[in-house]
Symmetry: C2
Subunit: 197 residues, 2 copies
């Protein structure tokens, strides 16, 4: 395999790129050597050298603890539990959360043989037992695995005495009822609130 | 901008990756440091070091002249003209062409200010004037720009005396008439052939 083929093969392993788009990406890289190929090679090198996993929360960052765990301004009483770093990034983009995170690194799965010790659940229980933490918000996905994991964590956290909450379920902002699945509509109905004047 | 953000920004500039898929790709790279991130960084470095443009035909390869121009087994009498290296790769994948190529590097475009000297057209006329070349196959795209470019090249090649041909237009293999545009159907009708027993 020559250098071009090897590059295409590796690019095709990125999520979102198939064999065809990997070829297009490789050509683009070759054409824009100075403005794209060389900077990307350097960015990957830098990433490999500097990026680490936060020992506290499982976030990826260039520092350990990560900038969120290290920030004095973030509320240490609030810990939001997510499956993956991508979920943490999504919540951070909203700017609506000023607490800290705990990245599980997946969900419990009997089929894939993922048990509690394969995720960061023991670490979460330990953190929740610390005096500073008052509330744990479970923000796992609304999938069977995500909900099973949330349920398991709720039970594990019961002895610590922290408040355990869940993200609200309901109609997405901008969502049209006609296009929503029955489960979401049912959840939205059950969790209905008094209309505010 | 830290190392993660820089990586995402660069990945988002690859064709086929938007901001969202660039974030997913970056996370995948960070998670698979040894099996994906480091090999890709090396592949990009190798590519930047070894890949060059063939001075004869404009193909990209690790050698100059490229392996197609250098191959004694390829028919030097046949030169297939394509807009881009991606088109060359597409034709090579068919395994149906045993001649050589000429990569224009784009199409003539008054709007974008692309003239004959910005493409590899002078080099093509020079090649076509060489005794070995008997036929030039124009495989530019069936777009206005591609056809304008093909027309221009046909005129430029007339004095050289080489045979100039075009790829056949018609119904794609597996294509359903009902879904084809009128232009393709018209071309297929006009270029109809006697059915073979």
């Amino acid at each position: 395999m020559n250098e071009i083929e090897r590059l295409i093969t590796l690019l095709a392993r990125l999520p979102g790129l198939g064999p065809r788009s990997a070829r297009r990406a490789a050509l683009q890289l070759i054409k824009r050597r100075e403005s794209l190929l060389e900077p990307l090679a350097k960015a990957l090198d830098d990433a490999a050298r500097t990026i680490r996993t936060c020992a506290v929360c499982g976030n990826v960052d260039t520092t350990d603890p990560c900038h969120i765990c290290a920030a004095e301004t973030r509320d240490a009483a609030l810990v939001c539990v997510v499956e993956d770093v991508a979920d943490l990034w999504a919540l951070e983009r909203t700017g609506a959360f000023r607490g800290r995170y705990h990245v599980l690194g997946g969900t419990l799965s009997a089929i894939d043989g993922v048990g509690p010790d394969d995720l960061r659940i023991p670490g979460l229980v330990e953190r929740a037992s610390a005096e500073a933490v008052k509330e744990v918000i479970l923000a796992t996905n609304l999938t069977v695995e995500g909900q099973t994991t949330a349920h398991y964590i709720t039970e594990k956290l019961a002895p610590t005495g922290v408040t355990v909450t869940r993200l609200a379920h309901g109609v997405p902002v901008g969502g049209e009822l006609d296009y929503l699945d029955d489960g979401t509509l049912t959840a939205a109905l059950r969790a209905r609130r008094t209309a505010e004047g």
